[in-house]
């Protein structure tokens, strides 16, 4: 077995922080607090720099100044953005509503037909399965149709879940639970591999066990 310690100081910094984060599993401690502060701070610094260079300059200032005649209208959202910032001064808080109104109104209008297309029509289409009189047809198509219908019944809010209605809603909740279980189980392995990834980082990149 050969060691080949990394000569890159950054790698050792990363190893230190990796172990610091894992110390949180034992209990909250200064090492974790340190790592937490650093990731929050560095992440924020990164975001601020990228925000300034890529967003403020790249997406707003440069297009506005280099191609003013066709992009002059960017001033309008900029004014709305500034109105948003007036929130810092309590007296002018209400000005920020214009920006929010624009964003939310347009966002909702944007979403409305798409919600109907993807959230309703497409889901309905996918569930309109033919009932086949075979084991496969029963196990798949029929179960899906029954599951969707009973699941929808569970989500009825203005009718009491009693009697036959309640029983169907009860079937619905069983379907939901099995579905959640499947999603849960499906994710477990993927999550474990994340940990393996970090262990490999320490062993391979830092300590240099080459043959892993």
């Amino acid at each position: 077995m050969t060691f080949n310690l990394s000569s890159n100081i950054w790698v050792w910094i990363a190893v230190f922080f990796t172990l610091s984060v894992y110390s949180f599993l034992w209990k909250d401690n200064p090492l974790f607090k340190f790592a937490e502060s650093v990731t929050v701070g560095v992440g924020m610094g990164y975001a601020m720099v990228q925000w300034f260079t890529l967003s403020l300059v790249g997406r707003f200032w440069t297009p506005l100044t280099t191609d003013f005649s066709s992009r002059f209208h960017l001033i309008i959202p900029a004014i709305m953005g500034l109105m948003l910032i007036t929130r810092i001064i309590p007296r002018f808080t209400w000005l920020s509503r214009y920006a929010l109104a624009f964003t939310m109104g347009a966002g909702s209008g944007f979403a409305l037909p798409r919600v109907i297309q993807a959230g309703v029509l497409q889901q309905l289409y996918a569930t309109m399965l033919p009932i086949e009189f075979s084991l496969h047809g029963f196990l798949y198509n029929l179960i899906i149709i029954v599951g969707v219908l009973s699941g929808l019944i569970y989500f009825f809010f203005s009718k009491e879940h009693k009697g036959w209605f309640g029983s169907i809603a009860n079937v619905g909740i069983w379907f939901l639970m099995v579905g959640f279980g499947a999603t849960f189980g499906y994710t477990v392995m993927a999550r474990l591999s994340l940990f393996i990834g970090r262990v490999l980082f320490v062993l391979r990149d830092a300590l240099g066990f080459l043959k892993i």
């Binding site: 050969t2 080949n4 000569s7 890159n8 950054w10 984060v21 949180f24 909250d28 974790f32 607090k33 937490e36 990731t39 929050v40 992440g43 924020m44 990164y46 975001a47 948003l84 929130r87 929010l100 964003t103 939310m104 966002g107 909702s108 979403a111 409305l112 037909p113 109907i116 297309q117 993807a118 309703v120 029509l121 497409q122 309905l124 289409y125 569930t127 309109m128 399965l129 033919p130 009932i131 149709i145 969707v148 219908l149 929808l152 019944i153 989500f155 009825f156 809010f157 203005s158 009718k159 009491e160 879940h161 939901l176 579905g179 959640f180 279980g181 999603t183 849960f184 994710t187 080459l210």
Partner: protein, 934 residues
């Protein structure tokens, strides 16, 4: 004083770091090429990148009087500007400990020969008694090892590095590789001669062993060889490409890649013909964490020229004497084909020389505008044409080509020799029309033609593998892995010596034998255009009917008894009916007696499509794309609607396998316009209309003040309990609104619930912490909480420091919120909104502190984690309902009722849809079929 020392030490260390590097070398042999036949505005630069050179990128620089390009460089360089950075993939350093790269036991020697304007040539030879003196006289040194991988930096730095030419391979006589039985798939045609009675048609598996020749080669032992000195087959099988050859004192690196870059003239870095440019290449590499090393190559200069056009080097003339028709194929091949997009050609003019002129007069390529060649102009087209057909050409006519470029330079071809052929009978696409494409923004035209057609292939398969292995060693068969593969049987006429070096002896053949019940797999393609409204393939086979609604393009019929069956394939229309035209129905016989496969019978011609603006002038017709013989439509996308203004005409050429050509009449004119309604979205339009109408009715109907029952929602009922307990314990409440932005429905609902939680918290006089991820959500949360506290009469308890922006990255947020939960010892945690993978981290940390937790989200993938780790969870729509439920606004409650009625509508549609699908009525379900979102 002490500080001064510190500064000194730091500077000293820095200067030491600077001084040590002599490695890597500067980029070697930069070379510039002016692209021939272009407008003088393309430059091609290439250089050698050796495998052991560590680098992160190369910068290509051009001399210019302008900006500084990199502040790390000295002032001398300031006038070079980076044209482009090129990332290089350096090979990862690997430590080798295998013994085979140790060459000290063998007498391999190495020396170099200088080459002009290039790296030296590296020559490795095995010392023999004959060549010993002459080789040693050249100053050759003994090779102690070869490196097949790039060694780490520490090893590279130990001895000087020389970079040279020499594609050496280490040949390793691995008897293990030689003797292994290799399974090999063999095309059926080879075998028909030998076993025509196999219960099987298709590829067979062979198990092979090496021939005696190969075993003899292996016996030769370790060799160092160049590719030309060894058969390709052995090279790939036993050879390993050498990166470096190492002697005691020097490393000769011989493996390199030619890195190249084509610089085209652009706005930032223009290239003008007849201007002089100086280039160099800079290697940028990182050494130690924070230091950068730059290595510049020698400079090279170039003056790009606008050359006259280059005559197509694959220019051929196909002549059919019966019809006196001539097809000129106007295409490039080889290198010119790769760079033809850079040419600035404008047009082809085809001339017929006057009778009696036997040779083309020699003439300098002229730049004059109108240097009319002697002869009769037969045809003139734009230079994008692939081929042209000329009529009424006599066998002894002399035809030649004149090409023109953007600045009017012309090039004349020689007389084109005729290649006599028989014209292919090509069928022009029937029913072809060109028109504006509907439902678009006004930037597309469409050509449609022909009738819908089904193409079918099938295979007969064993449901489970049932293989038989037959030993054929006594027949002395050799398999030759040439392009198509062939077999040689050793007999009296063919001796062992005559078989090729790569032949392998056949030991076993393996083939499947059929079971008594087989599977038939049908694969099909549907060729149709949008006018046909063709939709599904429908198949009948062995009394079964299958429709491929999922567009898998294939279906399987299982457990078919041996026999002969008829497969009927038909095209189903969008409306559910069957198409009536004869091509849309296919009947084929399938013999289920042996395992077999068939292939598609696809047309071997294709369509070339040209678009022009002036029907009289063919030079305005430019090639816009091609369509396969199986295609039934072609969409001509202009890219920008502004380019699609005016009238357009189309010409379609059918180009056959031997390049014969047929041309359609002029199609058009086409006027392209933008549409004001997308009819493919009509079902969505109606759905929006109906759903919104139902919703509005109930929302406003309920407004009139009718109370109705709303079932209790567990998570909401227990908000009071959670807050009460937190107050009892004297510990704060945490409300997490997730990662969503304010436009997420879940976030908006979360804000409503936050209002409720905040007013309860104000009532109990408890502290409420809201860590935020999105700035806008933060301000809305601040406003919501402030209002709730004010309404409860406790504005003094509101603290803006508790509702703040905590982190800008997902897991930084998760870490910070987890830390907060533990440090603040929150007694009640709410997770409402949109969550991703961090959901479980938050919920589990919260659970470990013993807090009461209520969660709610609409994301299926995160719900299970909240369900297991939280006390109460609002599932999907419950989150939305909770927000309406908590609101005092009667219209909000009305929306709950509306939601239930719409749900009933959904269920009704679903039941009808299932019934329709079961009875084979497609039109109903197809209404719901989603059209693509943009």
């Amino acid at each position: 004083m002490r500080r001064l020392w510190l500064v000194f030490v730091v500077l000293l260390i820095l200067s030491l770091l600077q001084a040590e590097d002599t490695f890597p070398p500067k980029p070697l042999t930069p070379n510039l090429i002016d692209i021939p036949g272009d407008g003088g505005n393309n430059v091609y630069i290439s250089w050698k990148h050796f495998a052991t050179v560590p680098g992160i990128r190369y910068d290509i620089l051009r001399y210019t009087t302008g900006k500084d390009y990199d502040k790390h460089r000295s002032t001398d360089d300031a006038k070079f500007e980076v044209i482009t950075p090129l990332q290089v993939k350096t090979q990862l350093p690997v430590l080798e400990d295998e013994l085979y790269n140790d060459l000290s036991p063998y007498d391999f020697y190495i020396y170099t020969q200088p080459q002009e304007n290039d790296v030296p040539k590296v020559i490795a030879v095995k010392l023999t008694d004959e060549n010993r003196d002459s080789i040693l006289a050249l100053g050759a040194q003994k090779i102690v090892r070869v490196e097949l991988e790039v060694p780490p930096r520490e090893i590279l730095d130990k001895i000087p590095n020389i970079f040279g030419e020499g594609a050496y391979y280490l040949i390793l006589p691995d008897t293990l590789i030689a003797n292994v039985y290799r399974p090999k798939s063999v095309p059926e045609n080879v075998w028909e001669f030998y076993w025509s009675d196999l219960p099987y048609e298709g590829d067979l598996s062979l198990e092979l062993k090496p021939s005696q020749k190969e075993l003899d080669f292996v016996d030769k032992g370790v060799q160092l060889l160049l590719p030309g000195e060894i058969e390709q087959y052995y090279l790939f099988k036993y050879g390993k490409r050498i990166i470096s050859l190492v002697t005691d004192s020097v490393r000769y690196t011989v493996k390199y890649d030619n890195i190249s870059f084509l610089q085209r003239s652009s706005e930032e870095n223009p290239i003008y013909p007849d201007s002089h440019y100086v280039y160099k290449v800079c290697l940028v590499q990182t050494w130690k964490p924070i230091k950068k090393v730059f290595m510049d190559s020698d400079t090279v200069g170039i003056t790009p020229k606008n050359e006259p056009p280059i005559i197509p080097n694959a220019l051929t003339a196909l002549y059919d004497s019966t019809n006196s028709e001539l097809v000129l194929r106007l295409s490039y091949s080889g290198f010119l084909n790769n760079i033809k997009t850079l040419f600035d050609n404008v047009s082809y003019s085809i001339y017929k020389a006057p009778e009696g002129m036997e040779t083309m007069p020699v003439e300098e390529d002229s730049i004059e505008e109108e240097s009319t060649p002697i002869g009769e102009l037969l045809f003139k087209v734009s230079s994008t044409w692939k081929a042209v057909k000329l009529n009424d050409i006599k066998p002894n006519d002399n035809i030649f080509l004149v090409m023109t470029d953007t600045i009017g330079q012309t090039t004349k071809s020689d007389f084109i020799p005729f290649n006599p052929v028989t014209a292919e009978s090509l069928v022009l696409p029937p029913n072809i029309i060109a028109r504006d494409k509907g439902n678009d923004e006004g930037d597309q035209a469409i050509l449609v033609w022909d009738y819908p057609e089904l193409a079918i292939k099938y295979s007969v398969e064993n449901p489970t593998p049932n293989l038989r292995t037959e030993n054929v060693q006594e027949r002395k068969l050799y398999w030759i892995p040439a392009q198509d593969g062939s077999l040689i049987e050793i007999s009296d006429t063919i001796g062992l010596e005559e078989i090729p070096y790569e032949a392998q002896e056949v030991v076993n053949i393996i083939y499947p034998i059929p079971l008594d019940k087989l599977n038939v797999r049908v694969v099909y393609e549907m060729w149709s255009n949008e006018d046909d409204k063709a939709l599904y393939g429908e198949f009948r086979f062995n009394d079964k009917r299958k429709v491929d609604k999922e567009y898998t393009g294939e279906m399987e019929f299982e457990n078919v008894k041996p026999g002969t069956y008829t497969l009927i394939g038909r095209v189903v229309k969008k409306s559910g009916g069957l198409l009536k035209n004869p091509e849309s129905k296919v009947e084929i016989e399938i013999s289920v007696n042996k395992i077999s496969t068939t292939k598609f019978d696809k047309p071997d011609y294709y369509y070339a499509i040209y678009r022009g603006t002036d029907p009289e002038d063919l030079t305005t017709f430019k090639y816009v794309g091609k369509a396969d013989g199986t295609d039934r439509e072609f969409t001509d996308d202009f890219g920008d609607w502004k380019d699609a203004k005016g009238e357009f005409y189309y010409i379609v050429q059918v180009i056959g396998p031997s390049y014969w050509v047929a041309r359609t009449v002029l199609l058009g004119p086409v006027h392209i316009k933008g549409n004001w309604f997308n009819f493919s979205k009509l079902p969505i339009f109606f759905a929006v209309f109906i759903f919104v109408a139902v919703a509005l009715f109930f929302v406003y109907h309920i407004k009139k003040g009718r109370e109705f029952y709303v079932r209790p929602i567990a998570g909401i009922v227990h908000i009071d309990e959670a807050l009460g307990r937190a107050t009892e314990m004297g510990r704060p409440i945490m409300y997490v609104a997730g990662l969503g932005w304010i436009g997420d429905i879940a976030t908006i609902c979360s804000m409503t619930i936050l209002g409720k939680v905040a007013s309860k918290a104000a009532e109990y006089q408890n502290r409420l912490i809201v860590p935020c991820y999105d700035p806008i959500v933060m301000i809305v949360a601040q406003e919501t909480v402030k209002n709730a506290f004010m309404d409860a009469g406790r504005p003094d308890l509101y603290s803006e420091e508790d509702i703040y922006y905590i982190a800008a990255a997902q897991f930084a947020y998760a870490a910070a919120v987890s830390g907060l939960m533990i440090r603040e010892q929150t007694a009640a945690n709410f997770f409402m909104g949109r969550f991703y993978a961090e959901s479980l981290i938050l919920a589990e940390t919260g659970a470990s502190t013993g807090a009461i937790q209520v969660a709610g989200t609409d994301d299926m993938t995160q719900l299970p984690f909240f369900l297991t780790s939280c006390d109460y969870t609002l599932i999907g729509e419950e989150l939305y309902a909770a927000s309406a439920y908590l609101s005092k606004d009667p219209m909000q409650k009305g929306s709950l009722k509306a939601q239930d009625y719409l749900k009933a509508l959904e269920m009704l549609l679903l039941i009808i849809g299932v019934a329709a699908a079961t009875s084979g009525i497609y039109w109903f379900t197809n209404i719901f079929k989603a059209v693509g979102t943009e």
